[in-house]
Amino acid sequence: MDEQSITLVFYVGLPLLIFGIGWFVGHIAEKNHERSLAEREEELKDIEVSDMRYPPGFSESDGTCALVSGEAVVSSDLFKSWLFGLRNIIGGESKTFTRLFDRARREALLRMKARARELGCNAICNMRFDSADIGGNTVAANRKRGMNMAVALVSGTAWRC
């Protein structure tokens, strides 16, 4: 192999390989995650979640209430981050990143519901969504970029009623 083809492999082949692996593994992981989310949502669907002050159709609580919360950090893969870079030039909605945040929120919600169930509660009211910047994107200095990840924080009050 001459020098030119080595350079070509290094600058084109290697990134393509990493993108390919990222896309392939990322795609499978995403599908698995979505399936597991759907299963657990089915399992926990009897826990009612609302962002109102009281559980809707609220009947008197037996006095059991507690703060419950859920957290999830889900990362995007290299390929999708790169695609988003392109999207950022063209503009418009990034469906992959929209889905990513959706997955993180659903995961966080499920964790909150699971904690409510552990406490023997069947409703969650005053639910709030929050976010955090762990990837460091808002504080990254100069041209140093943070990591692409969706952070979802959710909290609420669990009731037994």
Binding site: G26, A29, A66, E71, V73, S75
Partner: protein, 104 residues
């Protein structure tokens, strides 16, 4: 200690307001977890280390808030809110605040 993020507690009435209580914490994961998260960022998926970081931060912030409320002689904290701020990649500040009350 009853902690809720609503402004009332079911089945109880607030008899005395003790004031605002808060707790905060800044946490980071060790460099090994940061490197693992960086690698995971290539293929995508949940970054368990950072999820753990948030759970721990929340627990710590809440427990500090509770300690303040106990010092004031309160038995409940209502209207709890969380706030986060960014520091750098791989670290987070979590703050919990609420109103310490005596409820009966």
């Amino acid at each position: 200690m009853t902690i809720v993020n609503t402004d009332t507690i079911p089945g109880k009435s607030i008899v005395q307001v003790k004031g605002l209580v808060q707790g905060n914490t800044v946490r980071a994961k060790n460099i090994g977890r940061d490197i693992a998260a960086g690698l995971k960022n290539m293929v995508g998926g949940e970054l368990k280390g950072y999820t753990e970081l948030l759970t721990e931060s929340r627990r710590e912030a809440i427990s500090r808030m509770i300690a303040q409320a106990e010092a004031l002689g309160a038995n409940a904290v209502v209207n709890v809110r969380f706030s986060t701020s960014a520091i750098t990649s791989g670290a987070s500040e979590m703050m919990a605040y609420g109103t310490a009350v005596v409820a009966e």
